[in-house]
């Protein structure tokens, strides 16, 4: 795999205003996504994973706000790009598949009209004929019969709608596709068929993807790299297999002990006591400090920076490894 970075997020800080309070939902997030890489973002609800996804595509709307940071998509800082320039790149360079595909399609427009709308708006080529052709191509990619182009969203099953949203995201063969909980509302068998479809596309079309879900078993199974988020910060990053077999951060360890698994020996699963910190208050040291079994003095006062653990890019934000 070529280790050429496609997307680089550096010290991103974002959050939401609620009255005078500011909820700091994404804190100091940094990570790199390589070309043709498949990154999974894992964490509990409220840990800021969706906010991170929206912020890095500059889709965060008020009361949300990006405070600081840099986001490079192929050396191009998205945060400094003028709005009009950014709009041109949306769908073409990067696209987003949102959490509830049920609601991301317009209920009163036929599938075909919605897809054409996106295509003609963003394409330099305004020919309807060629647009139609591209529509047929992407529908074939996701294995949906062409007759459904003339249907309304409510006539389709949840799995079908999700496939169509993925097809739309691939209209321009973007370099980056961000999937925010794409299969959460679906049954396991439907989920599996969509995931298999997506993996196939991943090899065929060659793009990079970020998958966000709280289904950690699924993430570990299908992604190449994984980033574990806690309280707005990525606390551990590495190759999925390595992180699964040998988790370093105490939070990752606890999380992996909390999830019942379908295979292997049956053992006792333990949940993580306590609750994540209040994001409207400043956190000085490690955000996991008060729930951590290994915490010592330094953890409360000093923010742990990323510590590189190995040559293949694995890092962890924990004082236990700073020596």
């Amino acid at each position: 795999m070529s280790k050429e970075p496609l997307l680089e997020v550096k010290n991103l800080n974002a959050g939401y205003y609620k009255g005078k309070k500011f909820y700091h939902a994404v804190r100091n997030c940094s990570f790199v996504l390589y070309r043709n890489d498949f990154l999974g973002l894992a964490g509990e609800s409220g840990c800021g994973k969706s906010t991170l996804a929206l912020a890095m595509l500059r889709l965060l709307k008020a009361p949300g706000k990006i405070l600081s940071g840099e986001i490079y998509l192929e050396k191009l800082n998205l945060l400094e790009l003028p709005d009009e320039e950014l709009r041109k790149r949306r769908w073409r360079d990067f696209s987003l598949v949102t959490q509830s595909s049920m609601n991301s399609l317009n209920p009163v427009l036929k599938i075909k009209d919605q897809m054409l709308d996106v295509y003609l708006e963003h394409s330099t080529d305004k020919s309807r004929e060629r647009a139609n052709q591209r529509l047929f191509e992407v529908m074939k990619l996701v294995n949906v019969d062409l007759k459904f182009l003339d249907s309304y969203p409510h006539q389709l099953s949840g799995g079908m709608r999700q496939r169509i949203v993925i097809a739309m995201a691939l209209l321009f063969s973007p370099k980056l596709v961000v999937l925010d909980e794409p299969t959460t509302a679906l049954d396991v068998v439907v989920q599996r068929s969509i995931i298999e479809q997506f993996q196939e596309l991943f090899h065929k079309v060659m793009f990079s993807a970020i998958l966000i879900t709280h289904d950690i078993s699924l993430l570990f199974e299908i992604t190449k790299h994984i980033a574990i988020m806690y309280a707005g910060d990525i606390v551990e990053y590495g190759e999925s297999g390595e992180v699964l077999e040998d988790p370093k951060h105490p939070y990752t360890k606890a999380l992996l002990q909390a999830i019942p698994s379908i295979s292997g020996e049956l053992k006792e699963y333990k949940s993580i006591p306590g609750r994540p910190p209040d994001l409207s208050k400043p956190i000085v040291g490690c955000s996991y400090f008060d729930r951590c079994d290994y915490a010592f003095e330094k953890c409360q006062d000093v923010y742990p920076g990323a510590i590189r653990l190995s040559e293949n890019g694995r890092w962890v934000k924990c004082h236990l490894y700073s020596k």
Binding site: V188, R192, E221, I262, S271
Partner: protein, 318 residues
């Protein structure tokens, strides 16, 4: 061994109207099950498989169109009168999926927990207080005084679900019907609710019927698993055996589709979708998707006994 609950050939049909047409939705087509004392039975299946309907029929939120429910040796009537209902609910309690909408948002935890006690005629203030503290301790919410004065919105999802369990055990029931109690909770606390169910079973000898789509949690807590598809029971057996060696092609599909970080990446292609319950397929409901389909599948197979397991599939015809 005697059973505390028996469900015999229960059918449930919903009628829905679309414009001038009426449709009959066959939500449950002949479900039979038994429950022993202090047993945890998980009912798994996809959405629309009828698992929640089954639970609600047993819990008397719906009445069955056909069939019989026998609790402690006597048939539960379809419509309960006031006295029967009080008696029934004392022994059978329900815990719902969403712990927020299952509690009155403008009442404190104290009120929510007191209600059942008052309905069952407990009037002594001290006695009530003692009982409340006892159940909160049972569900590991301590110190009790702090939680009693809270409103549901002040609690986290996991704590709310614990209050829901506290409310259901306060009448000392023998059976709790739990409808996806962990599906709305975060991954990190899911297992604590599962552990709580194990503890309540151990300490109070409560039996559970646990409806879930999460096979991993079903495997973790239950003694037996029932797999449902299109309103029918397809396979039944000991939890570990079902997960290790599924017999029915549908169970096999379900298990292969389930995310497993250490799983082999066997590809499943052309998985199909569950059938319509308005006009379910003839014979075995899984046959349109089944790769082992034969001509015999056009007749509905019975549940065959295969080494202690029950399977509705002609492959296991003896």
């Amino acid at each position: 061994m005697s059973f505390i609950l028996e469900v015999r050939d229960v059918e449930k049909i919903f009628t829905i109207r679309k414009g001038f047409k009426t449709f009959r939705v066959m939500a449950l087509r002949g479900a039979t099950l038994t429950l022993s004392e202090a047993e945890i039975l998980s009912v798994v299946g996809e959405s629309g498989s009828g698992k929640t309907t089954l639970l609600r029929v047993i819990g008397r939120l719906y009445s069955e169109n056909k069939g019989e429910i026998i609790l402690f040796g006597s048939t539960v009537p379809k419509k309960l009168n006031k006295k029967q209902e009080i008696d029934f609910r004392r022994r059978v309690q329900i815990v719902f999926q969403d712990p927020f909408s299952s509690m009155n948002p403008v009442k404190r935890v104290k009120y929510i927990l007191e209600r059942p006690l008052r309905i069952y005629g407990m009037r002594e203030k001290d006695e009530i207080k003692q009982k409340l503290e006892e159940v909160l301790q049972d569900v590991e919410l301590s110190p009790a005084e702090i939680f009693l004065d809270k409103f549901p919105h002040e609690l986290s999802g996991g704590q709310r679900q614990r209050v829901a369990f506290a409310r259901s055990i306060i009448t000392a029931p023998r059976i709790i019907l739990a409808d996806e109690p962990t599906s709305m909770l975060d991954v990190s606390i899911k297992s604590s609710i599962l552990n709580l169910m194990l503890k309540l079973r151990q300490e109070h000898k409560i039996a559970f019927i646990h409806v879930t789509h999460d096979l991993a949690s079903a495997r973790y807590i239950s003694d037996r698993i029932i797999v449902m598809y299109a309103g029918m029971i397809m396979e039944e057996g000991k939890a570990q055996e079902i997960v290790k060696m599924p017999l029915h092609p549908y169970t096999q599909l379900l298990l292969k589709a389930f995310p497993d970080p250490r799983g082999g990446k066997e590809k499943l292609s052309n998985l199909g979708e569950p059938p319509s319950l308005i006009s379910p397929p003839e014979g075995c409901p899984f046959q349109p998707r089944c790769k082992y389909r034969t001509i015999e599948c056009e007749n509905l197979p019975p549940l065959y006994d295969v080494g202690g397991k029950k399977v509705r599939c002609v492959l296991y015809k003896i």
